[in-house]
């Protein structure tokens, strides 16, 4: 291809930056997973049977009125909503599965967050979301029949002594934990603003100046040769 263009394509220094761009391009293509790349971030956590999400742009501005789409493991859309004034949106867990939450903000911004199935504890496997939320006190004697989950067979002695099934006991603990962990989660959300760091900025400028150096190096070599 370069035969007829020999003077312009190979013989001249221009091929040096070109080559460098190609190399950088290759390096980039090999190194980066697409999941990284977004400028708007969404963070989601589960409390009981509800998923709370927070969305913001890098730089800390909340993403208002952005579309939130929730998908299950197979990629079926479960529900759709919009963030409020604070960039928050919450919804009841529709199904016990890995939840992929996609945020679509205006102007082609897109963010993603996945909640693995294990984190969804407030929802019984198949029953509706409402059943799990019933107060333990009133539903005490109906629940055991419904609760056909995991380790129901060997209810711990302490729980039995309190008149609670293992299921209800777990729910109480979960609830208490959620309450205790709420401030930590909020803190985590705030710190998760993956804005550019100083090292990134300096590094990027360094790359560009390095490219200039490479370009100049080849151009002076060409002159001498």
């Amino acid at each position: 291809m370069c035969q007829s263009l020999d003077r312009t394509c190979l013989g001249r220094f221009r091929s040096a930056p070109l080559l460098f761009f190609v190399l950088v391009g290759l390096w980039v293509a090999l190194h980066v997973t697409p999941a990284w790349a977004h400028k708007v971030t969404i963070f989601a956590y589960v409390e009981g049977d509800t998923v709370f999400t927070q969305s913001k742009f890098s730089g800390g501005k909340r993403a208002k009125n952005a579309t939130v789409l929730v998908y299950d493991k197979e990629g079926n859309q479960l529900l759709e909503g919009a963030t409020d004034e604070n960039g928050e949106f919450s919804f009841k867990v529709p199904k016990k599965t890995d939840l992929k939450i996609v945020l679509k903000a205006s102007m082609g911004h897109r963010g993603e967050w996945t909640i693995p199935e294990e984190e969804i504890t407030g929802v019984a496997d198949t029953s509706g979301t409402g059943a799990a939320e019933n107060e333990a006190a009133t539903a005490m004697h109906e629940e055991p029949s419904v609760a056909v989950t995991k380790a129901d067979a060997e209810s711990p002695a302490t729980a039995v002594a309190l008149g609670l099934s293992r299921e209800e006991f777990e729910q109480l603990v979960d609830k208490a934990l959620d309450r205790k962990l709420a401030p930590i989660l909020t803190m985590l959300t705030d710190s998760l603003d993956r804005g550019p760091k100083m090292s990134d900025v300096i590094g990027g400028i360094g790359y560009i100046f390095g490219l200039v150096g490479v370009g100049l190096y080849f151009s002076t070599r060409r002159k001498r040769g």
Binding site: M107, V201, G204
Partner: protein
């Protein structure tokens, strides 16, 4: 202005990448040895400009500086912007690598267009009023055109054009004004300090 990954359809991404490749090729072909440093500096400026957030409008917007790059670099804005956007995608996670081609096109094409539209006025010999107005127009119009192009890309992927473009442009009105002023200030400064940069092609001292 950075379109994220997974937003546009593959055909739009490929078309954008192809057009960007053409632009970069033209830019590199026009590149002279002496212009490499100025290109690098402007590329670095573009890279950092995206960190300057403008706290206005419904979304997060930041400076772009593509008008300034087009004014000084012309077609060479393509490779300069490609490098800067690539690094932004890598280091800041702005935009994305699959959408790099489209994003470069959206920012570099308006840069080149503005150079041809307004560049004639930003010359050392021009009248001061013409000089200032052209420089301002160059800076702000580049942003406007970029906004329209982003809207158009979204439209090609299924969004309604007018609302999408309106939203992008509306969000960038403050940026347009700031960039117009900034481009003017830079052009005025260069006219005093390094007028040969404004003459388009680098004029070697003979």
């Amino acid at each position: 202005m950075h379109i994220s990954e997974g937003v546009l359809s593959p055909s739009v991404l490929i078309a954008g990448a192809a057009l960007t490749a053409v632009g970069v090729a033209v830019g590199l072909r026009k590149l002279e040895n002496e212009e490499i440093p100025s290109m690098g500096i402007l590329s670095a400026a573009f890279f950092v400009a995206s960190l300057v957030h403008v706290p206005a409008g419904p979304a997060s917007v930041h400076l772009v500086l593509n008008g300034l790059l087009g004014l000084i670099l012309g077609w060479k804005a393509f490779p300069a912007i490609l490098v800067a956007l690539g690094l932004q995608a890598l280091l800041f996670q702005f935009g994305g690598l699959t959408s790099l081609g489209v994003n470069t096109l959206n920012m570099a094409f308006p840069a080149v267009a503005c150079r041809y539209l307004f560049g004639w006025g930003v010359r050392v010999g021009a009248k001061p009023s013409v000089f200032v107005i052209s420089a301002f127009a160059c800076g702000s119009f580049a942003i406007l055109l970029s906004g329209v192009m982003v809207g158009f890309c979204l439209y090609l992927t299924g969004e309604a054009f007018l609302p999408a473009a309106k939203l992008v442009v509306a969000a960038h009105i403050p940026v347009m004004i700031i960039e117009g002023v900034l481009t003017t200030a830079c052009a005025l400064f260069l006219r005093r300090v390094k007028p040969e940069l404004l003459e388009g092609q680098y004029v070697p001292k003979s």
